[in-house]
């Protein structure tokens, strides 16, 4: 049987215009008309068209334009652009700031996956435990993710303020004066400080995903484990974590992508300083483009950044799907 023709017959033209009409219960063959049926792929395209249009104009087209900019040396609109071929890309790989930013991004990725996700998981476990007033705690925990990054950046800027920020004031009150320092102003502590803020801001997002996942895990396994004498900790590591593997993979991919693109918080809190200690790929692209007016070079950097994201994500997906043989779950 040619599936296409079955579909064609079913989605005949008279059914395309059946908006609002109750589907007839007469059996199929009696309703065949003589017009040619619309192929399914046109129907599909029709549904996808508006989205594809907006997406194409505002994302795909600018993306290609950017790629083309990367082959030029260009100072901005209204200025001459000189074609330099692949020179911008060569420059990227000679640029020490690029490597510094790459390193910093790697740190962000590591913190994201190895600190943020576990914190989110712990929060999720707390939320899904036998706690009363769960809703209250969940709302409180989620507060950080709800605030705008600009607000978070400004707020934590105050918290880290060397003179009147909470952290230093508390440290001094505890007699730990020597620990109080200019957190955001020293290249040794700036990145760590921003990372703390990042975990604070984004862990709750993962908490929500994990808590939903945990809630959908079958409870009988846990019952059986308790009866067998396993304590909560053992249950967590031997049951929960393995069963959450697909979710962990999804969140890891999300965290990976987010870390490579990371911009807003750094921009507001440190602008990539001091001394490039918090410079990330995205902030460097912005700096080269909008501060230095080197739009060609900035575009080349952005293209490299995109390539890195694509490669990294593919690697993660390929390696994890190699170990996965679970078929798609579907709720029946």
């Amino acid at each position: 049987m040619n599936p296409l023709s079955t579909v064609e017959r079913t989605f005949g033209p008279e059914n395309m215009s059946s908006r609002g009409r109750k589907p007839s219960t007469i059996s199929a063959p009696n309703r065949t008309r003589h017009r040619r049926p619309v192929p399914i792929w046109i129907v599909g395209l029709a549904f996808m068209a508006p989205a594809l249009l907006v997406y194409g104009v505002f994302l795909i087209y600018p993306l290609f334009q950017s790629v083309s900019y990367s082959f030029f040396d260009w100072g901005g609109p209204g200025r001459e652009a000189t074609n330099v071929g692949f020179e911008n890309f060569a420059r990227v790989f000679r640029d020490p700031v690029f490597y510094r930013a790459l390193l910093n991004n790697a740190v962000v990725v590591a913190v994201s996956i190895f600190i943020q996700l576990p914190v989110g998981l712990v929060l999720a476990v707390v939320i899904t435990s036998r706690l009363r007033v769960k809703r209250f705690f969940r709302a409180v925990y989620f507060l950080p993710t709800l605030m705008s990054t600009v607000a978070v950046g400004i707020l934590w800027g105050f918290i880290y303020n060397p003179s009147y920020g909470i952290i230093n004031v508390v440290l001094r009150a505890l007699g730990l004066d020597f620990l109080a320092q200019g957190w955001l102003g020293q290249s040794s502590t700036a990145l760590a400080a921003v990372m703390v803020t990042t975990v604070w801001t984004y862990a709750p997002f993962y908490m929500i995903i994990y808590s939903a996942a945990i809630s959908s895990l079958p409870g009988d396994l846990y019952e059986a484990a308790s009866i067998d004498g396993a304590n909560k900790l053992q249950q967590f590591f031997r049951l929960t974590v393995p069963m959450l593997r697909p979710t962990i993979i999804t969140t890891s991919v999300l965290a990976l992508i987010g870390s490579i693109k990371f911009f807003d918080l750094i921009f507001v809190m440190t602008k990539g300083g001091p001394s490039g200690s918090t410079e990330l790929l995205a902030t460097y692209v912005f700096k080269q483009g909008f501060t230095n007016q080197q739009f060609g070079y900035a575009s080349a950097l952005a293209v490299v950044m995109l390539a890195i994201a694509l490669v990294a994500t593919s690697i993660v997906l390929v390696r994890t799907s190699m170990g996965e043989r679970t078929p798609r779950k579907s709720v029946t």
């Binding site: 059946s18 900019y69 435990s129 004031v169 490579i260 692209v285 952005a302």
Partner: protein, 286 residues
């Protein structure tokens, strides 16, 4: 069989006591999560002098002056602009995304693989790559330095996650329901409208909320595409404010408080939907 173990588990007093560490941990975490927020709220009720003397604890003289100073037409304009931008973008994203998700999830088209990859790859594209071209594009379209300049780019960048969630959700709808409808003669539009849409409540609310939060908090596009302060959205206005407020910390805090209210309200009202939607989206995609 009553054993020590069962008593341990079932005695109500012991059961309550066993909960204590859990509550302690939970509350500790809550403090960590909320202390910056508390700091922000408390500071917004203090006068500048009092803030410098007493930055963290409860204000001695509660004052509403900071809020009063903010309720200027300008702040209201920022708010309104953000609301308009969010409303239009979220609606557009949800409509376009849901429409597109239907064929991607349920029709067997050769096109699907490619289109899906194109949409999902969009999640990896850093916005800065497109900033300057969009800057020029909005000028060519004549919408630069006005709110409509934001609609296109924000919608485009919100589509990937929307489509991801909706496709996962649509895939999860049992084939049986749809086949039954088809046999009854329903065409694709009818299937979409009468069957998929009504079932999609939770997914759509999730997508709406996720997009609302991210659009509301969007900073970089408005920064580049808007010049006149009258057109600024809230985060941009905040950034501007904090530069203007200079050393007035309580004033800035009050602004931050006001700016956070909409997303928080939204979440409080729609908590359940967000959670179940995020679950539906993120879990069933493997």
């Amino acid at each position: 069989m009553t054993t020590v173990a069962t008593v341990w588990r079932k005695n109500p007093i012991i059961a309550a006591v066993r909960q204590v560490p859990l509550y302690v941990v939970a509350s500790l975490i809550a403090v960590l999560a909320a202390f910056p927020f508390a700091f922000m709220v408390l500071a917004s009720f203090k006068g500048q002098g009092e803030f410098l003397a007493n930055p963290f604890w409860l204000p001695q003289d509660v004052t509403l002056a900071n809020f009063g100073g903010l309720l200027t037409p300008q702040f209201g304009t920022y708010f309104l602009n953000s609301i308009i931008a969010a409303a239009v973008t979220v609606t557009a994203t949800v409509v376009l995304g849901t429409l597109a998700a239907y064929p991607l999830a349920r029709m067997k088209l050769k096109l699907n693989g490619v289109v899906l990859i194109i949409f999902l790859a969009g999640m990896m594209v850093p916005i800065h790559v497109t900033l300057l071209p969009i800057y020029v594009l909005t000028q060519d379209l004549g919408i630069f330095d006005s709110l409509p300049a934001l609609f296109g780019p924000l919608t485009a960048f919100s589509l990937p996650i929307t489509i991801y969630v909706m496709v996962n959700f649509f895939r999860q709808i049992p084939e049986a329901i749809i086949s039954a409808a088809r046999i009854d003669g329903a065409g694709p539009w009818t299937v979409f409208r009468q069957i998929l849409l009504p079932l999609s409540g939770p997914a759509i609310s999730t997508v709406a909320i996720i997009n609302f939060i991210s659009v509301w908090n969007e900073f970089i596009f408005p920064l580049i595409l808007l010049n006149t302060t009258a057109n600024y959205t809230l985060p941009l206005g905040l950034s501007d404010f904090s530069a203007q407020f200079r050393i007035d910390v309580p004033g800035t805090m009050a602004a931050l408080v006001l700016a956070s209210i909409p997303t928080i309200l939204f979440f409080l009202v729609a908590q359940e939907k967000v959670v179940s939607g995020l679950a539906a989206g993120a879990l069933h995609g493997e």
